[in-house]
Structures are given as C-alpha cells and as structure tokens.
Subunit: 370 residues, 2 copies
DNA sequence: TTGTATGCGTTATCAC
DNA sequence: GTGATAACGCATACAA
C-alpha cells in the first residue's frame, strides 16, 4: 500500500500551486487551457484520486448519497437498488445504506432519520417507500435537504418523486381483460390507506365504466397486500355458486395474486381455463408461478436509476465521470451550478409500465413464455 | 437547520480547551474524572455529534465500512444485510454498499475493488460471496486491509471468515433421513468447484458410511444450484422404474429442491407420501413451498451480524456506542488498542445450523407448520 | 490567469 | 492533567 498521493504532490510534479490543481480538478474555467491539459495529464498518469474526506471537510460535497430503504426482502427492492448502484457506478459518488427495520419498535424510523441528518454524512437522500417518515422528510426537504422519493403509498407532494401512473396502468390492465371478452371482472383492492391501492382501484373502475359496465358489488373485494389476503379473497369468491364466479380477477398486486393461484390450485380450479387471474407489479417471482402470472410490470430498476440521476442532478449537475476510474474532467464551476433543489419546481417522474401477458390470462401463452 | 456544533463550541461551554473535549470523547484516561463528567454532560445536553469527516481527515477511522455484495436477489442476501445493518445501527459506523453485478462484463469485479481501495473511503471491508475477487482481496488483506469474508465457495484461507460447517450439517441432515428409516437416499450435488457443494456431499457420504450403507452410484447425481438443475435431476430419477426410485432425495441446496418439488407436482408424485425431499439453506421461500420444505437452516442474519462485529473489532475494538444516538463514552485510548488485524491469528467463526423439519419429509408435519 | 493564505473539525504532539 | 498548536487534504477568498 503505497503512500497516497495528494494534491500537493501533483502540484509539485506539474510545477504549479495546489490551488491550480484544485481548480483543474473542479473544472474552474479560469485556468489556462494549456496548463489545464498538462495538469490533467499528470493526474491521469499517476492515477491520482482526491481524498473525498478532505473534499467534504473543505466544504464540498461528501460524494455520498444516503439510501433509506425498507427491508430488502421486499420484492421490489433488489431491483430498485440495482438501478441505484448501476447509476452510481459511473459517478464519483458512493451509496450509504440505511436499512430500516419496520419491525423494530424501540429504534423508530425518525431515529434513523435523525442519525442521517445530524451526522451530515450524505449530500442527499433517496428514500425508498419511506412510509411514516415521509412527513419528517418533507420538512427537511424544505429546509434544504436534497431528497428524492420512491413512494407509492401516498399522493406525491412537493418533493421530487419517481414512480408510475397507477391509475392509467390499472386502467390499461382492465381494458386488456375487457378486450379478451371478460365482462364480470373482480378486483381485489389493496389497503385503502395506500395511494397505489386507491389509484389502481380507480383505474379499474374507470375502465369498466368506459366499457359501460357497472361491476356488481360482490366483485369489488377488499384485500390487503399479502398472499394470505389474496387467498382469503379467493376463498370468498369461489365459495359462491360456480355460475356467480367472475370470469377474471384483477388483484391489486402480485402477492395477492399468488394467494389466489395457490388456492385455485388446491381446489383444482384451472387457470386460465376456468378463470383468468392478473396481478400488478411483476415481482421477480411472478414469471415463475404456476401458471406464470400476467401482470403490470413496474420498472423498478429504472425507478432506482432515474431517482438517483435526479438526486445527483440536484446535488451536483456535473457528477458524471469522464473515463471510468478517473476523476472527472473540466466542468462548470460550482458557483454557476443550480444552487438548491428546493428552489426549483418539484419534479415528478412517471415511468411507463407495461402489461406482461403470461399464461394466467392467456391460453395461447401457456407453453410459451417465462 | 441550526448551525452544527463543533468540538470548539463544547470546549467554550465547558470552559476547557478543545483538546480536552477531544480526549473525553475518545476516552483518554488522563482526564480528571470530575472534568470528564462535566464535559460529557454538556455533550449530552447539547446532543453534540462529532463530525465524522473531520475525524477521518485527522487520521482516525472513516467510520465507514464497505459491504461488497452480489446482486440482492440472491436469496440469502437480504437476511445477511439485515444482520449487518442491525449491528451497525448500534455503532457510530455506517455502511457503504458496493453492489456488484455479476452480469456486467465491462466493469469487472476488480474494478469495483480498485475503486473501493484507491478511494480509501472505508475503514474495512465485508465481502459477501466475493467469488472470483477473493484472490485480490487476500492480497490486500495481507497488505493491511481489515477484511472479513462471508464465503462458502472456497475453502477458508487465512482471512477472517464467518460461515457454517457444511459437512457436519449435511451429515446431520442425512442422519435424520436415516433415522426416519430411509435407506436409499439420493444426493443431488452442487457444482464441484464450490466448497460448500463438496463439503455437503462429503457429509452425506460420511453419514451413509457410518450407517453401513454404500449408496448406489445411480443415487449420486451431479446437479447445479438452480431450480432447473433440480428439475432435470428429478426427471432423471423419476424416469427409472418406480421400484428403483430412492425413498428420499437430499438436494444440496433449496433452489434445486424447488425444482424437484415442481417436477414431482406436475407428475403427480406426492411428497412426502411417495418420496421425501429435503434441501439446504432454508431460503425465505422454503417455508412457503408446497409442501413446505424440510431443510438445513443457515443462520444468514447471524452471519451478517457476527461478521460485522468481527470486522469492527479488527478496526476499532471500542466501536460500540453507549447510549443510542450519543457519542461513545470513555474507552481505552487508541494506542492501547490492538493494532492490526492481519497480525492476529485468523478467525474462523462457524455458526450453528439447525434442521428445520417441514412437510416435505414428515407426514405428521403436513398440517402443522410454516 | 495564477499563487498565497486561511479555514473546515478533529486528532495528536508537544510543552507546561 | 491540561492547553496550545501543528497536521490531515482540500477549496476558496484574496492578492498579485
């Protein structure tokens, strides 16, 4: 482990002052083009990497972004975080993971948040499904904390936010069922306190209405979000006369659809021959269900990717690295950069979803797909 | 966002020099007991938290540990990382996540590693299933990088390491089957380049031998690690005469057992009535299979937890926080602390496994368990 | 355009 | 025991 080079060493090698090296490193345009090139060459040659710790002490960015995440067993998280990580890979920033455990009562969420904020370790925060801490976060955002949310549990507020259009997606999914000739389509709702659940329900209703159909009240079933809830709803549905069954069930999320599939299999109810089932999310397991589940695909990877891009643009518009592994080249001076995120109009990024048609809704697809 | 307190402010409030405050904060015993108490009180009252950035610049630790992890979709990872996170929660350290994507060829693993090391951002590294980078890591460990491995793919070397006794665990699982009266027990091996696979196979063989049984060669089947591999092996087994079927199958991991379960279900083969199936790992899904899978439980959470403890002990034996949220109280001065991890004897921590008996091996358990 | 000097918040090495 | 004071590596206001 050879001694680490400092900006001072580079300055000596280049025959300039360390202030100049610093300027070059930060892309200050006031440096002479010639000189800048020479310094950069030396920097490259020696593989010089500035000390992040010193940078942040001296008042710059910490080059660390915090990722506030719920338990990683949540189906969407690995993909979201992969998106974050792969974006970060091409920047000079690193991820500080704050994994919050929703089961832990003693150490509640705002404690974690306090820790994040009092330490001032990170230059910005990406909050994934923050649940109850959202209010706290909002306050800190207004006080200047660069923040991006991935959150479908509440209606988007004034914080930069990345997500999907739940209503339109559910509408499209329902229309697909209608186009397949289904008329009696049941919907298993998610918990009413969740924005996504209400939006998806609204999308379903809207599509039905547009088709001139008023679904029977018996087909609107209040579920939850776990397989067990789906299973219970399935029991309810299939306990009726066979003639009263719907011809299709649209579950508000994949997890509940799993419960339906399971119950159907146990009861010898064939899918899709006897009844069609579709979900929402396209969790990693959905393609491997029996039968593979038709569902609305949420672009989780892209959500992580875009959210990170958004956040870094708020913090440091010139965060992108030039060559991999090297320091970034000349950029705009920090003074010219957009100052504070909270001063700009809030950005709401709605990413497109897609309907993934699999065997649970399509006899022709039974032998085909994944 | 009120201005952040500095050690200087505390010094003024306490009527001492900042050097003394620093001493108190670091538990230097040379401070007068009275004074120390007074300073600590003021620190507590004002909720003073020292600036980590400054600490690390001044030559201390960065209070950041790197976690090198494969894709989070790997079944064991959420639990391992939960273990890491929950341990970290009670320290003054934070997690820097280096999520490495095994599919990405351009940016190979040692690139990520270089980044970790040249940046010198982290005080130590926890490498989870590092695969091919292990050799690189070993080198850097010998050069002084505090490092702990969670790795079952190769035989433990001279690096501190946390894992299980695969051989003994497989032995115990096999003995369980023998005690259930099984004689013809098939084993689906994992890939031979993996340490865990060979150890589990050895454990199986050993148990059979101890029972005085030499398994027929047809019952020793080379598998892989994915459900598909298990499925293929199942096809192979069940393609024989019914009389030639084994009465139990021990798959080297849960994933392959899933494939067996799936194939059996499709073929109408009942488990455990027609044949017993057990796995290894106790992935999160295993309890929810149909039927629930009997398996050897790896304590993933504890592995993450213990590995982190080990790493932090190497870096900073006094890393534990006193009261939650406050700075740590008096501790031993840094000079008395054990200097470098690599000078100590390598620690190999073998955590206990347990056999989780579920319906796939136990008729009595069919209606019971999770 | 470039160099000099100061500050960031802490630890550590001296003196006293 | 305690207090100045010099690093630590960089950014930046101010000079030149």
């Amino acid at each position: 482990m050879q001694k680490k080079l400092t900006i001072q060493d580079i300055a000596r090698l280049a025959g300039v002052s360390k202030a100049t090296v610093s300027r070059v490193l930060n892309g200050n345009p006031s440096v002479d083009g010639e000189l800048q090139a020479r310094v950069m060459r030396i920097v490259q040659e020696h593989g010089f990497v500035p000390n992040i710790t010193a940078i942040s002490l001296a008042g710059g960015q910490t080059h660390l972004i915090g990722v506030l995440a719920p338990p990683l067993v949540w189906p969407a998280l690995p993909e979201i975080i992969r998106g974050v990580a792969e974006y970060i890979e091409n920047t000079t920033y690193e991820i500080v993971l704050y994994s919050i455990n929703f089961a832990n009562v003693e150490l509640n969420h705002s404690d974690v948040l306090n820790r994040v904020l009092t330490l001032r370790l990170v230059s910005g925060l990406l909050a994934i499904f923050p649940g109850e801490v959202t209010a706290h976060l909002t306050k800190h955002y207004q006080h200047g904390l660069p923040l991006v949310l991935i959150n479908d549990q509440e209606e988007p507020g004034h914080i930069p936010w990345v997500g999907i259009d739940n209503r339109a997606s559910a509408n499209a999914a329902t229309r697909y069922l209608l186009e397949q000739g289904h008329q009696r389509i049941a919907h298993i709702r998610g918990p009413q306190q969740f924005y996504w659940a209400n939006e998806r329900f609204a999308g379903y209703q809207q599509a039905m209405q547009e088709a001139g159909i008023t679904p029977e009240p018996e087909l609107l079933i209040q579920g939850g979000f776990e397989p067990l809830h789906g299973r219970q709803c399935a029991e309810h549905i299939f306990s009726r006369e066979r003639a009263d069954w719907p011809s299709a069930i649209f579950a508000a999320n994949d997890q509940m659809a799993y419960g339906i599939l399971e119950y159907a299999e146990q009861q010898g109810i064939r899918i899709p021959e006897d009844i069609t089932v579709i979900g929402f999310d396209d969790n990693i397991l959905s393609a491997h269900m029996r039968p593979p589940l038709t569902t609305v695909r949420q672009p989780f990877y892209e959500m992580g990717h875009k959210a990170t891009e958004l956040l870094l643009n708020m913090i440091d518009p010139d965060h992108h690295m030039g060559e991999k592994g090297t320091v970034k080249g000349p950029t705009r001076p920090r003074s010219e950069q957009t100052p504070l995120a909270s001063q700009e109009a809030p950005v709401h990024l709605q990413l497109p979803t897609s309907l993934v048609i699999r065997a649970s809704s399509d006899k022709a697809a039974i032998s085909l797909n994944t």
